[in-house]
Amino acid sequence: MINTLLEENHMQENSILRAKYAAKNLDVYYADKQALFGINLDIMENQVTSLIGPSGCGKSTLLRCLNRMNDVIDICSVKGSIRLDGQDIYDDGIDVVELRARVGMVFQKPNPFPKSIYDNVAYGPKIHGMIDQKSDADEIVETSLKKAGLWQEVKDRLAAPGTGLSGGQQQRLCIARAIAVNPEVILMDEPCSALDPIATAIIEQLIDELKQKFTIVIVTHSMQQAARVSQKTAFFHLGSLVEFGDTDQIFTNPQNQQTQDYITGRYG
């Protein structure tokens, strides 16, 4: 039933939207332990897709597959395919460094570099050769910080260390840093879990604006957040994709009992 529903979804959406990512039969193992089981999932361009599910169900694992951050973990191995714009990102010929420049990532805990605010944002563009002269950098830094909604707060202290900002500001700095390399996709792993409600609201609004230009995948533990910011929601349980569909439909009329239990907080 889920599959037919998925099919329907695709047909409806495909007229307007294009699948940015397509995961097919994705299995992920940590050593001998399987963390993801046969995941099939399409992520639509210029939409926000949220991944929800109980702790340890494999949300972060899936997210890290999408920009191959799992490569860093020796014991992690991936089977199946993930296509980004039709090209398998686990192909041998793929340049991982280039892939990660196309797919930005924001982590659960803000992790600004111990550098100035300016250098934090200019870091990516610099290593990707997007900067020929100082004015280029200035421009990228300013537009990125503006998009991340941080410009007004930091424009007078760009030389101050990024680590000296508040948690919410740091997280927005990390978003600015990710935007600065002009990626196509932004992956966010519980980006608001360390933030207070006000900072969270700012970032949620930001996500909403960013989806004009970027495709966004967000892992969250907050049902409300998923409902507020995302158009598509995927519910995972014990490494399997249980239900995937329009956020409205998932939250108002879930097809699966487990999904229902989880979103109504009855999950044990």
């Binding site: 990532m105 990707h128 840093r177």
Partner: protein, 415 residues
Amino acid sequence: MPYTTTISIFVSLCLLVTAYFWGVKRAIATKRSQTALSTQVKFHSLPGFHGAYVAIWCAIPSLVLFVAWQTLRPNFLPQWLAQDMAGLVLLISAGILGLFFAQKRIASRFKARHKVETAFSLVMLLSSLVAVFTTFGVVVSLVFETMRFFSKVSVSEFLFGLHWSPQIALRADQVASSGSFGAVSIFAGTLLITAIAMLIAVPIGLFSAIYMSEYATPKFRTWAKPLLEILAGIPTVVYGFFAALTIAPFMRNWGFELGLEISSESAMAAGLVMGVMIIPFVSSLSDDVINAVPQTLRDGSAALGATKSETIRLVLLPAALPGIVSSVLLATSRAIGETMIVVMAAGLAANLTANPFQAVTTVTVQILTLLVGDQEFDSPKTLAAFALGFVLFLLTLGLNILALKIVNKYREKYD
């Protein structure tokens, strides 16, 4: 009695053990009798703490008395009290008195646990004071002797004089009886050898630290790291003869083929070997600080599409810089203070030269040669050793302070 010390140590130990178990036993007995009367009573401390409390009260009075007795004995005590036996009796009786005093205090409400805590913190305070006072004593004696030296030889001659020949004639009517104490060539030699050593140790140490922390597999790391640290454990005298008997002849032959004049004792030989010796000082500490940079920063950089070496160069090294700088400075003070290798491989001649292929000498080597053999303790020759030692002390102190300053400055900036 020849064995009095051994006997008194043995007796005190027995007394201590007895005191401990006595305390434990009394505490248990008291507890039993009180809980038998009413279940409301709660015993404050565990029996072990009461035992420790009694033992401490047994140890401290006898220790204090014994130290006092030892110091007063030679001059101030009457004959009968100064005897070994008297000391032993004093020791034991003080211990027993303490024991009885302490065990009387055992009661349900008695806070033996806190008393023991206080006693331990005092012991730790005393231990740290030993280190502090030793340093203080060494510095004072250095300053004092250095001042005596400068009353015989002028400061400017010592600091700016180019000629170093500290030998003083034994008889006053001999020629050149005064000796001369221009230390510039010694400082220059120290500088030269240290510079060579650091040129070897810093790049190699740093690169190996980066390799160990970022590239090496855990398996390689587990055996390579201890192996590298063994370098620091080899006695310096072994390095010394390695430098003198292997490196130096090798360099001389090699120089001969190139048409270079390389003396068999050279700053180069000593500096090279010393550089190898201090590699672990740089690598071990740098490895630790690079490892201490949070993984989230590596991930953040990788997620932006940076390669590993870009991440290392642009994120890890700047973040670890304060630690790296201080490891380099600590290695430098180690190099400056090194003696054995230099004595054996660089020679004793106080040449003022920038040519690394000639023999030079260093501050530590000169201190050594000044003090070897029979000495008069107030001749300028001997006192010169103190002056040199004082300079050495100031130099390494300065380096260490600088290292701390750098660490603190960056720590404020980054955390």
